[in-house]
Every structure is written in structure tokens, then in C-alpha cells.
């Protein structure tokens, strides 16, 4: 029963999900909209509560047991609490019920967003530039003809995608565009075709009840 009920629900919803794509009747659309707009959101909200609960309990237990690196769990729990308090009572731009302003500095959601989230996020993303440089240096070797062709194409695209390339040779962006639209697109379509059929077959396996690992096992 424990695995049959979810499976039955899945088959029902799966078949409805597929067939509704081909049914223009407003009744089908209304049911689809209800499932999508209402039920899916309720499930997401409950899952978030579960996730947050797990996060808090896990780090609380780390602190209690004084596990390795438990100091960072303090950082996490304190940040979580402070953010929640500011979010709930500090308001978006200092209009909340808490006195969140010290002089010119305001502890509100906007401050958290502008002064913490944006710089931290941008820092993480900018790491990519450094990692790309180091990974390219380490592994981009013209070991054979094909690898050489790949390297040459990469150089053309890299130069063609920046104004400097155009300054060097005005036709370089066009060559780069051709590489992106013809060989790149051809290869991508080939992989995409396989992926799409793989997705469809995986869905069929799930709907047929053959693939049940996601339910936590075969039995």
C-alpha cells in the first residue's frame, strides 16, 4: 500500500499531464490549472517547512554533540534567525514594527539583499572566470587533430565574442557566429534528440511502474 498508492497517484497524474496537452477543452484546462496553481504550491510550501526543519535540527544536533566544525553551525543558525527576524518584522525598507535603524544604517530586507546577498552571489559567480581559466590551462591540449580543431574553434569563438576580436579582424565575429550556429547547433541537436527520447522513455518507465527507485525501491 505504501508504494502502491503513490504509484497509482503518479500514473493518474502522469497520464492526465500528458493527455491534457492534447485536450483543448476548458474543463481539462481548469483541472490542470487547479493542480498546477493550487496543489503544487501547497506541496512546495510543506516541503520547504520539512527542509527548514531538517536544516535547523541537523545543525542543532551538531552543536549539541560538538561535532567537527560545529562552530559554523552557530553561524548558520544565528544568520537564519537574524534574517527571519528582519524579514518578518523589519519590513522591506525599514517600515516594519521593529526599530531596525541605527543612524543612517537600516537593517531591513533591502539592506540584506543589497549589502549581503548581491555581493556574495556575485562573488560566487565570478569564481567561474578563475576556475574556467585554471581548468582550460590544465586540460586544453592539442593532443591530436580533433583536439586541435576544437582548440582552434574555441580561440575563434573566444575572440569573436569580444570587441577585441573585431578590432583584430572585422570578419572574426561572423566566423564565430557561423561556428555557433552550424557545427555547434548540429551537435547540440544530436545530443538533444537523444536526451528528449531518453526523457520520454524514462517517463514511460515511471508511468508503467517499472522504474520505482525514486519511490525508494522496487518493492
Amino acid at each position: 500500500m505504501k508504494s502502491k498508492l503513490p504509484l497509482a497517484l503518479l500514473i493518474l497524474m502522469g497520464i492526465f499531464g500528458i493527455t491534457s496537452r492534447f485536450i483543448p477543452h476548458p474543463g481539462a484546462e481548469a483541472l490542470n490549472a487547479y493542480l498546477r496553481d493550487t496543489l503544487l504550491r501547497i506541496i512546495s510550501a510543506f516541503a520547504l517547512i520539512l527542509g527548514l526543519g531538517n536544516l535547523i535540527l541537523r545543525h542543532w544536533s551538531k552543536i549539541k554533540k560538538k561535532e567537527e566544525n560545529y562552530g559554523s553551525s552557530y553561524v548558520l543558525l544565528i544568520s537564519l534567525t537574524v534574517t527571519a527576524i528582519i524579514g518578518l518584522f523589519g519590513g522591506t525598507s525599514g517600515e516594519g514594527i521593529l526599530p531596525t535603524r541605527i543612524g543612517e544604517f537600516s537593517f531591513d530586507v533591502n539592506t540584506l539583499y543589497d549589502k549581503v546577498m548581491i555581493p556574495l552571489g556575485a562573488t560566487m559567480f565570478s569564481l567561474l572566470a578563475f576556475y574556467m581559466a585554471s581548468a582550460a590551462y590544465r586540460s586544453f591540449r592539442a593532443k591530436n587533430t580533433l583536439a586541435f580543431l576544437l582548440l582552434a574553434s574555441a580561440f575563434i569563438v573566444m575572440l569573436g565574442q569580444v570587441p577585441l576580436g573585431q578590432a583584430l579582424w572585422s570578419e572574426l565575429p561572423s566566423v564565430s557566429h557561423w561556428i555557433m550556429t552550424v557545427p555547434n547547433t548540429a551537435a547540440k541537436r544530436g545530443i538533444d534528440l537523444g536526451i528528449t527520447l531518453g526523457v520520454t522513455a524514462t517517463l514511460l518507465k515511471i508511468l508503467a511502474g517499472i522504474e520505482r527507485s525514486w519511490l525508494g525501491g522496487g518493492s
Binding site: A33, I118, A133, K143, V162, A167, H177, T181, T185, K188
Partner: protein, 290 residues
């Protein structure tokens, strides 16, 4: 240092070189010639073709602050273009993290235009010319629901005002009233719009994406499912140039400011790859001789 040692340069040196390549051109800006590639021109033309009396531009800014440098100038450039042509703009976000950025962008571009405006008709007025409808989760829900009713899925705007009380929303009901959806993203949201909104409701879709995602979108440009695309910061810079050339708008163009850094950074990466290959071949030759 022997050539064979060039194969094992400590990655911290690479990081330092990259850091300098990015920071120095930002401090000492350089103006490089900027051509406009086909995908960016396609998006510009599609937006330009909107009849402001009949349809609006829907900007779906689906990026997080992490990709602000690449995606945010796209939002600003599109807003400038739309405001210059008096095309009504509806702005939405599929990720909550983008909301603060878009709020700031809408206010910034409105202020730019209103500083130059001389009459009430010239001004950009919130609710008449632009509406920021905010965020509704999860992404698939607003994408599909906007085909039925935009104010239905966004009952209030980002600031809590009932959407149907905004004057412009009286004539903008669903995708039929949208000239093009410009999905600016650090993920696959332009493709979600193609898969769900375009196939079902027939709305044209344009993309703005990070450079690393751009190859994903070329097949859709080829088939015409995407009307155009801004690929990475370069795409945003090209759009800024188009807006400047066509409407004489010379406000700060942040993507163009980054082009010097991007050019030098690409050259530095290529230089390291070349150094690595020289060392590789030198080592191989030595091993062959031995």
C-alpha cells in the same frame, strides 16, 4: 624556469593574472569598436516592431543577483528601448531573488526618462507605461497562467497595488496583448516560455542569457522559435549600442564598460592555454628523444 615546468603553474598565479586582467581595464576604461551580431539585432527588431497602441513588451527577468553583471544591463537596455518607443512594459520575475534588482532597474530607467521629460505625456508613469507585477511561484505556474489572464495570476503588483487597477492593465489581458516575451535568464527560462507559452499560446519569445548558456539557445534561434537573443555581457553591450544609435540615449552603459575586461580576460585565458600546450609539446618531444 624550464619549459616543462610551464605545465604545472600554480593555479594561484592563474587566478592573480585573471584578477588583474579583469580589474585593470575596469579602472582604465578602453573604448573598443562594437559590431552587432544577428541574434541581438533580431531581438531589437522584434521589440521595435511592437505597435505601442496594440501590444506590450513582457520582460521576464529570471536571474539571480549572481549574474547581475551579465543579465542586469539587458533589463535596463530593454526598458530604455521600450520607453523610448513608448511601448508599455510588463515586468515579472520567476525567481524571488531577482525582485529587488528589477524594482531598482524600473525606478532607475523611469528616473532617467523623467529627468529629460518636459510634459506629462513625455514622462514615464508607473501603471500607465510600466507595471512591475513581481513574483509568483513556481515558474511554470505564471508562464502558463498568463496565457489565460495576467491579472489573474498576478492579482497585485510588486508594491501591493491591485493589478487590475493599473490603467495599462485594462487593455493587457493575456499573451494576445503581448508583442514579445523577453526572457532574461541565468537558467533555461527562455526555453520554458518557448515550450509552454509559445507552443500553447503562440506568443513570440526572445532571450537574454549568460554567455555560458548561449549555445543552448542557438538551435531555437535557427528554427525561429526565439526571435532574437542577447548572449552574455557582449549581447547586452550590443543592445546598449543599438539603443544609443537609434534613440540617442547616452545614459550609463554598464555592459559596454565591461567589454575591456572581457576582451583582456579572454586573451589571458588563451595565453595560458598556449603556454600549457607549448609545455606539453616540449615535454612530449623530450620523452620521445629519451
Amino acid at each position: 624556469m624550464r619549459v616543462s615546468n610551464w605545465m604545472n603553474i600554480d593555479r594561484r598565479w592563474i587566478f592573480l593574472a585573471m584578477g588583474l586582467a579583469i580589474v585593470v581595464p575596469l579602472l582604465l576604461p578602453m573604448r573598443l569598436p562594437m559590431g552587432v551580431q544577428e541574434p541581438t539585432q533580431g531581438l531589437f527588431d522584434a521589440v521595435d516592431a511592437i505597435d505601442p497602441e496594440k501590444q506590450c513588451l513582457l520582460i521576464s527577468s529570471d536571474y539571480t543577483p549572481q549574474t547581475e553583471a551579465e543579465n542586469h544591463p539587458m533589463t535596463v537596455a530593454l526598458l530604455r528601448h521600450a520607453f523610448a518607443r513608448r511601448i508599455p512594459v510588463i515586468s515579472v520575475v520567476l525567481y524571488i531573488e531577482a525582485a529587488g534588482l528589477i524594482d531598482a532597474a524600473v525606478k532607475q530607467v523611469m528616473a532617467e526618462f523623467n529627468a529629460r521629460a518636459t510634459t506629462h505625456a513625455d514622462s514615464i508613469i508607473y501603471g500607465r507605461d510600466v507595471a512591475f507585477l513581481g513574483w509568483q511561484p513556481p515558474p511554470i505556474v505564471p508562464i502558463l497562467s498568463m496565457g489565460e489572464s495576467i491579472t489573474g495570476i498576478y492579482p497585485v503588483d510588486f508594491y501591493g497595488t491591485p493589478s487590475d487597477s493599473l490603467p495599462m492593465m485594462a487593455r493587457i489581458q493575456d499573451y494576445d496583448d503581448v508583442g514579445i516575451v523577453a526572457a532574461l535568464s541565468s537558467s533555461s527560462s527562455p526555453l520554458w516560455y518557448v515550450m509552454f507559452a509559445q507552443t500553447k499560446f503562440g506568443v513570440p519569445v526572445g532571450a537574454g542569457c549568460t554567455a555560458v548558456m548561449a549555445p543552448d539557445f542557438y538551435p531555437y534561434l535557427e528554427t525561429g522559435q526565439l526571435s532574437g537573443m542577447m548572449g552574455g555581457m557582449k549581447g547586452a553591450a550590443e543592445y546598449e549600442v543599438l539603443v544609443e544609435r537609434n534613440f540617442g540615449i547616452t545614459d550609463r552603459a554598464r555592459a559596454n564598460e565591461g567589454m575591456g575586461s572581457q576582451s583582456i580576460a579572454h586573451v589571458v585565458i588563451m595565453a595560458f592555454v598556449v603556454v600549457g600546450n607549448i609545455a606539453f609539446f616540449a615535454t612530449r618531444r623530450k620523452e620521445g628523444q629519451a
